[in-house]
Amino acid sequence: MEVEELKIKSCINKYNFEKKALISILQDIQEEYNYLPQEALNIVSKTLGIPLIDIVGAATFYRAFSLEPRGKHLVTVCVGTACHVRGAPNILAEFEKKLNIKAGETTDDGQFSLETVACLGCCAIGPVVIADSNYYAQTSVRKVDAILKKHRKKEK
């Protein structure tokens, strides 16, 4: 995907070129491209006057940001303690098998990215799976296929 300078600049302009808005700007860029392209960070660094290393430091610190291209759909499996005891590892393994990738990777066709999270704070409805910010409660190995199918369909 080509990085358009104007698009990045408009993201920055939204926050009046303020340095303290770095995280918000990065979030907007991530929203646009699904990840943080290298060129985009270069533009942000030059426009805001923040050293590139500081931006990269912030971008790599938070798990919400990704420097690698991610799939169109993001599937996040909670593997926190409560979800773990209710069978989250099995669900994660099923996702890995179905998508043929490991947690943290993206499928070759760029459709799905699989990630894990330690806890979402809603342990009562565990095991939890989030797919494109839709929360699926009390998931099981059997429901994995349905979730994937639903989001693949949305695409078309």
Partner: protein
């Protein structure tokens, strides 16, 4: 003037001094690794830990970042401090066992074994190179990335940074990746050659300058003078 107590000794510190600076001024030794006079204090290596306060409320604090306060009671050589210090050296050894500076610290503080998995990362994340680049070289080419066990120091995207002028300041100041311990190959991670070799004096002094003179000298330095070239080598090893 701030009056505080270090090891029972009443000392006066100027406004804005840290405990470490005060101790240095009075000649009280506190070991440091990530501290450098020309750079801002970071408090990352935890070697300069001292015990602050008395009784059960005493806490450990890094003296390089703790400001001297009125009436503060500081102890630099309690058992708790020394044990914590040893633990820190052990942890650092497991990260960068090839570092001469850390091996020397291990010998000096009697760390003879490493109980942790040796990771050979040649970096202890002391941040000296980052601060050197930023504060002295005005570079801002390297910095910390990621977090937790994945934390590392690198340039953006791990490629040559536009800001880097190849000054070499980061390598000059690094305690872990540059100076390789020249001691004999040890089976264990800890070389401790300085402990077992003659002279056992870690800092090499001649007869007149021996700091143990009044306290019953160890005598290793005057026992048998080795060959001149040898003594130079040994002096280097023991430094």
């Amino acid at each position: 003037m701030i009056i505080l107590k270090i090891n029972g000794l009443e000392v006066k510190a100027e406004e804005g001094w840290t405990i470490l600076e005060t101790a240095k001024f009075y000649g009280i030794e506190i070991p440091t690794l990530c501290y450098n006079e020309g750079l801002s204090a970071y408090g990352g290596c935890r070697l300069c830990l001292v015990e602050i306060g008395e009784g059960p409320k005493a806490k450990l604090a890094s003296s390089c970042t703790y400001p001297a306060e009125e009436g503060l009671v500081v102890r630099t050589d309690t058992r708790r401090v020394i044990e914590t210090r040893r633990m820190m050296i052990e942890l650092m050894l497991s990260l960068a066992p090839n570092s001469k500076i850390i091996q020397d610290l291990a010998s000096k503080f009697g760390v003879t074994k490493v109980r942790f998995k040796v990771r050979n990362e040649e970096c202890i994340l002391c941040g000296l190179c980052v601060r050197m680049c930023r504060e002295q070289m005005d570079g801002k080419a390297i910095g910390f990335q990621n977090r937790g066990h994945k934390r590392k120091i690198s340039t953006p995207f791990d490629i040559k940074s536009e800001e880097c002028r190849l000054c070499g300041g980061c390598m000059y100041i690094c305690p872990a990746c540059q100076l390789k311990c020249q001691g004999p190959e040890a089976d264990t991670t800890v070389c401790n050659a300085c402990l077992t070799m003659d002279p056992t004096c870690l800092d090499y002094y001649d007869e007149l300058q021996c700091w143990m003179y009044n306290a019953g000298r160890c005598g290793t330095c005057v026992r048998e003078k080795p060959e001149k070239s040898d003594s130079k080598e040994q002096a280097e090893n023991s430094k």
